[in-house]
Symmetry: C2
Subunit: 216 residues, 2 copies
DNA sequence: CACTGGAGTTATAACTTCTAACAACGATTA
DNA sequence: TAATCGTTGTTAGAAGTTATAACTCCAGTG
C-alpha cells in the first residue's frame, strides 16, 4: 500500500473511531461531520475527502460491526471445547453489553438510508454459521412442513453443510431468542421487573440447549 | 373542556398524527417541526405553542404507543375465549406489522433524551399483565433459585395476583421471545433466510404454549 | 367598548450537511 | 533542477434544522 494511502486509511479509521464515541455518547444524531472533524483537528468539510457523505460513514460503521461481531463469535467458538452454544451466546451478549450502541446500530431501528452491501451479508451469514455449528445431533426423522421446506431451501442456498431442517430451524430460533433477551437487556426494558437479565439470558440458553434432549 | 381547549387538543392530535406519518415515511429524522407545521398550514415555530420542544412531541408519541399497544392486547384478550396466549401474541405481532416504525419507536433503539413517565410505565405493565393472564396452570412445586426469588419480588411489587414464580418467569420469557421474533421480522432480518417469519412466529408461540405440558 | 390572552407571524441565532472555489504542499516527471 | 499534478486542507455559502424573541391580530370577557 502506498504511503499516502496508509495515511489516508489511518485518517478514515480515526474518523470512524471518533464517530463510534459520539454514537455512544450522544446517539446517532451525535454523529456530526463537523463535530468529528473538530475532534480530529480539521474542519468538517475536510472529511468529505474521505467519505462520500455522512451516510457512507454510517454504512461503514454498520459493516464493521457485522464483521466485528462475527469475528468475536468465531473466536469464542474456537476457544470453546464443549458448551459451544453457551460460548457463542455469551460472546454475543458480552459484545452487545460492551457496546450497546453498536449492537443497536446493527439490530435496532434500521438506519433509513442503509442497504446492506454484499460482504456485510456474508458477515451476517458467518455469525449464523457459527451458531449453527453449535447445534446438537438430530436423530429424529424429519417431518414435513412448510417451515422445514423453507429452511431446507435456505440451508442449500447458503451451503450450510448437512444440517437437518430441525437444526436449521433451531439456528433461526437461537438467533431470535438471543436477540430478544439481549436487546431488551441493553435497552433496559427489564429494569421495570428488577430481575437480573443475566438469569433470564441463562434460562434462555438452557432452553435452547435442551432443544435436543426432551425427545420425551 | 373549554371550547378553546378543544381546538387546542385537536391541533395537538393533528400534529401527532402527521408526525407519525412522517416517522413512517422518513424515519425519526423526518419528524421535523417545520415539516409538520407546513403540512398543517402553519409555520414551524407556531407548533411551540403546543409542544415545549421536539423531544416533548416524541415523548408523547412514545407514551401514546404504549397505551395503544396495551389497549390492543387487552381488547384481543377480551375477545378470545381460549388460546389466550395465541390471541395476545398475534395482537402484538399484528400491531407491530401494521406500524413497524411505531413498534420500533417503543422497543427499538432508545430515543436519546427520553425517560418514561409514570403513566407510561403503567401502560407497559398493563401489557405484561395481559400476557400473564394467559399463563397456564402451574402444578409443579416451586424450586428455589435466584431467578425465582427475583420474579417473586417483582410479582409482589406489581401486584400480579397469585402467580407462581414459574408463571412470572414465563411472562418475561414470552415477552422476550415475542420481541425477538417480531423485531427481527419487521426489521427484515429474516429476509436473508427466505423463511416466512409467520412460521417462525407460530413455532415460538407453540413452544411457549407448550411450556406447561412437557412436565415429561 | 376596552382589554386581555392565545395563536399565529417574521426575524434571527446557532446549529446541521454538503458543494464550490481556492490555497498549499508533496511527489512525480520532464 | 524545475514544472506540474494530485491530494488535502481551507473558507464561503446554500439550504436545511431547532428554538427563541418580538410583534400582530383576533376572539371572548367584563
Amino acid at each position: 500500500m502506498d504511503r499516502r494511502e496508509q495515511y489516508r486509511e489511518q485518517t478514515r479509521q480515526e474518523a470512524k473511531r471518533i464517530a463510534l464515541e459520539q454514537l455512544a455518547a450522544h446517539g446517532l444524531a451525535g454523529i456530526s461531520v463537523n463535530a468529528i472533524g473538530k475532534r480530529m483537528g480539521i474542519t468538517g468539510p475536510a472529511l468529505y475527502r474521505y467519505f462520500a457523505n455522512r451516510d457512507a460513514l454510517l454504512t461503514e460503521l454498520i459493516s464493521d460491526g457485522y464483521h466485528d461481531l462475527a469475528d468475536t463469535v468465531e473466536a469464542a467458538l474456537a476457544r470453546a471445547r464443549n458448551g459451544r452454544l453457551r460460548a457463542a451466546a455469551t460472546a454475543i451478549r458480552d459484545w452487545a453489553r460492551a457496546e450497546p450502541h453498536r449492537y443497536l446500530l446493527l439490530f435496532g431501528t434500521p438506519v433509513p438510508g442503509y442497504e446492506a452491501p454484499e460482504h456485510t451479508l456474508a458477515a451476517a451469514s458467518r455469525t449464523m454459521a457459527a451458531l449453527l455449528s453449535a447445534a446438537g445431533p438430530d436423530t429424529a426423522k424429519p417431518r414435513r412442513s412448510a417451515l422445514y421446506r423453507q429452511v431446507t431451501a435456505w440451508g442449500e442456498r447458503m451451503g450450510y453443510g448437512e444440517l437437518s431442517p430441525r437444526q436449521l430451524h433451531w439456528g433461526l430460533t437461537v438467533w431470535s431468542r438471543l436477540h430478544g433477551v439481549i436487546s431488551l437487556e441493553i435497552t433496559n426494558q427489564f429494569a421495570l421487573s428488577g430481575v437480573d437479565p443475566e438469569l433470564l439470558f441463562k434460562a434462555e440458553v438452557d432452553a435452547l440447549a435442551g432443544w435436543w434432549t426432551p425427545e420425551s
